[in-house]
Amino acid sequence: MHHHNHYYGQAHILARYCGLNDLHPPRMRGYLQHGWNVACGWNPVHEFFDGAWRYTWSDPPRRRGHSLGRRNYHVIGAPFLYLADMEPDLGKVPEEERSGTLWFLFHGWEGGGKGGKIEGDHARLISEIKETETEQVTISLYYTEFERPEVRRAYEKAGFEVICFGKRGWNYEGTDRRFLYKQLETFRRFKRVAANRLSTAIFFGTAVGCQPAVYGDPMELEGDNPLFGGQARIKRLWPEMHGKDVDLAAARATTDVELGRSYVMPPAELRMLFDWNVRD
């Protein structure tokens, strides 16, 4: 199993869904997509070994992977959807009590010596958020930005609450296996979810009832790979997800496609697919 499978505790969620130990999830015979992806499900330089299966959230990455000569895909739906099914009451408040905007700043990544920082005009973005949002705003920073004081303080000084959901981990270490639990719990009390780039969080929030919005400076990511086609391609492919006031029905339909809602499968099937049944 590749250590990326543990990111955000996704393998842990699926192990729990299958009735297995979710503290130490069993080895998965392949690669699990760990974030919404505009390519084949993984970054362009990701290593794959022969015979490993590729478990994607939805069908579009499978099709793009197939065009790249990659095979052995099986679409399973996003683990976040499995979690939402297993935790129907976590963080739930009456619909009319949901309020405010959970705002996700596009985040960098660990980098591994190849960059991974974001650069952009935070002051301008803050102004735009204030102009747009009518209720209280909570800014969610990934730890890569949360631990950069100059970024975190900019949002705190603007009067926003700033939170961080934790770390996804690296080499099986430091994974916050409650990462997505915390996100789910938080989403369920917010009315809106917003970000400066169409991203995983927007789809997760929309999937659990938030009104999505994508606006503001998308910022630059150090070492961003042009193979993905950039922001222009994303806007061409998902125009219905962009803007300050998007059509909710259209956004939900797209979210269902991108998270692979129709691909969610029963535990017994997933156990066989991951080779998680004990063999004689």
Binding site: M1, H2, H3, R27, R29, G30, F49, D50, G51, A52, W53, D59, R62, N72, Y73, H74, V75, N171, Y172, E173, S262, Y263, M265, P266, A268, E269, M272, L273, D275
Partner: protein
């Protein structure tokens, strides 16, 4: 011997001995067809060439006189003494002897076993003309025609010279005037009243289907299924380059399934009302509402198997799942190539519970999906065992118990014995799959080693964390605050006699073996 106008000599020119024509044409399917085709009172019937007793009995039941022409002396001798007039010899010899033509001429065996080595080198149209010359004007003539462009011949892996037996003393299939298509055959015969695609393994008719109906069918439709069942029977003992199924489906898609049938039965002259198809299980008719098979009307639509193959190829598991659920909800279940638009054809296996039949149907589907190397999204560790069948049964709403899986397997093995020899393409694909398996297993080992490397790194990280904590603890213990606290603790123990006694006792135990 006194010979009247209608009396034929027992032997005419061109007989062969020693000789036997093996596998005479016939079987109950052909007899059922002839029973519909021939009038109740047919007058004089000539059965030309080797035909089995099903055909001869049927002819005898419809005619005042049945003449059977056999070129083999021993075959003719074996048949004499019955209700037929048996003439031994070749077609050309009979043509010279016959003075009164026949009302019905049956040559379902074709025109290739009517001459002997001593006969003149008559080509196919000449033999046809001789035969038709024996029929009276307005007579019914039935002729079997072999298709030189049959999919079974195109995919036969034997060289042409090795496909035919001792009766090719002249290369019959090298005849430039031999019809190689239905159109050429009809042109040579001057038009036909009716034509059926003929599927006859070892010349025993397994399936007949009207050429028009089979020419208009599509892959997975009942017409194609009927033809493919006939093809499967026809090729069961033929060494093949590739499975006929794929080629036949492509032909059906192009509307050319009749064009590549193994042969035809051509009817000339008046004919009784016949059904669209004749099968081992009975007759079938294509109506405006679908195929009538016995008492059941089956929609002229794609089979469930075809739809499932398409979902699997598109890797559309949700679509597959929904379709499987609908199949599970059916009252009557059959093998999935026998279900059209959720109506099971009556020639499905019966006498089993619905759950058992579903298990069998999914086993059969698995065999076809995996065995034919079709595209699908499931990993090999699921495809190798029963996991796929378990998954699909659950999709159909049936709990896949071990017993159910076993019964299902038994039903399939009984209904579809394994092919005697795999075709060449399957053998090559199997070999390639085996190579891929080796490569993927090596990849799996690499992956496991890679995981172990990650885990080793994780252990090293933890080890370092432990070392750091231990160092911190050591430094902490060496600090003045901890030392003072330690002295204070000891003093506290000295000041408490009970705790002091307990501590002394504990230490003393170490020096007193056997004491607990």
């Amino acid at each position: 011997m006194f010979v009247t106008d209608q009396t034929l000599p027992p032997i005419v020119r061109g007989e062969i001995q020693p000789w036997t024509d093996r596998n005479p044409t016939g079987g109950p399917v052909l007899a059922a067809f002839l029973a519909d085709l021939l009038p109740a009172s047919a007058g004089r019937i000539l059965v030309a060439g080797p035909h089995d007793t099903d055909v001869l009995e049927l002819a005898a039941s419809r005619a005042g006189e049945v003449t059977v022409l056999l070129r083999s002396v021993s075959d003719a001798e074996a048949l004499r003494g019955g209700k037929y007039t048996v003439v031994t010899g070749a077609l050309d010899g009979l043509a010279e002897a016959v003075t009164t033509p026949f009302d019905v001429v049956i040559a379902a065996d074709g025109l290739d076993r009517l001459l002997g080595p001593d006969s003149p080198a008559l080509d196919w149209p000449e033999r046809a003309a001789l035969l038709r010359g024996l029929a009276a004007p307005g007579a019914t003539v039935v002729i079997g025609v072999e298709n030189g462009f049959a999919v079974t011949g195109l995919l036969d892996r034997r060289p042409e010279k090795d496909r035919y037996g001792d009766d090719e003393w002249r290369p019959l299939h090298d005849d430039p005037r031999r019809p190689a298509s239905a159109a050429q055959a009809e042109a040579a015969l001057g038009g036909a009243t009716r034509r059926f695609a003929l599927f006859a393994p070892d010349r025993r008719v397994h399936t007949m289907i009207e050429s028009d109906a089979v020419g208009r069918t599509h892959p997975g439709f009942p017409g194609a299924r009927i033809a493919l069942a006939g093809l499967a029977a026809q090729t069961s003992a033929t060494p093949l380059l590739a499975p006929v199924t794929t080629a036949a489906e492509a032909a059906a898609r192009a509307g050319l399934l009749d064009t590549v049938a193994p042969g035809w039965l051509v009817v000339l002259g008046p004919a009784g009302e016949t059904h669209t198809a004749y099968l081992p299980s009975g007759a079938a008719d294509l109506t405006a509402d679908g195929w009538r098979l016995g008492d059941r009307l089956v929609p002229d639509a794609e089979s469930a198997e075809t739809v499932l193959f398409r979902f699997a190829a598109a890797e559309d598991v949700p679509g597959f799942r929904a379709f499987a659920a609908r199949l599970g909800a059916l009252e009557d279940v059959a093998f999935f190539d026998e279900i059209h638009d959720f109506v099971a054809a009556p020639f499905a296996a019966t006498g089993r519970s619905k759950a058992e039949m579903l298990a069998a149907a999914w086993h059969r589907f698995r065999d076809r999906l995996i065995g034919e190397h079709r595209r699908h999204p499931w990993p090999p560790w699921m495809a190798d065992g029963d996991d796929l069948v378990k998954t699909w049964l659950a999709m159909s709403g049936v709990e896949p118990t071990a017993d159910l899986l076993k019964y299902g397997r038994e039903i399939v093995d009984e209904a579809f014995p394994a092919a005697e020899q795999p075709d060449l393409r399957a053998a090559l694909a199997d070999a390639e799959a085996a190579q891929l398996k080796i490569k993927e297993q090596a990849g799996h080992i690499f992956g496991l080693e890679r995981t172990m490397r990650f885990r080793d790194q994780q252990l090293r990280t933890r080890e370092q964390q432990l070392r750091n904590m231990r160092d911190e603890m050591r430094r902490f213990k060496a600090g003045k605050v901890v030392k003072v606290a330690s002295v204070v603790g000891r003093v506290a123990r000295l000041r408490d006699p009970k705790r002091l006694a307990g501590a002394v006792k504990k230490r003393a135990r170490k020096f007193l073996p056997g004491r607990s």
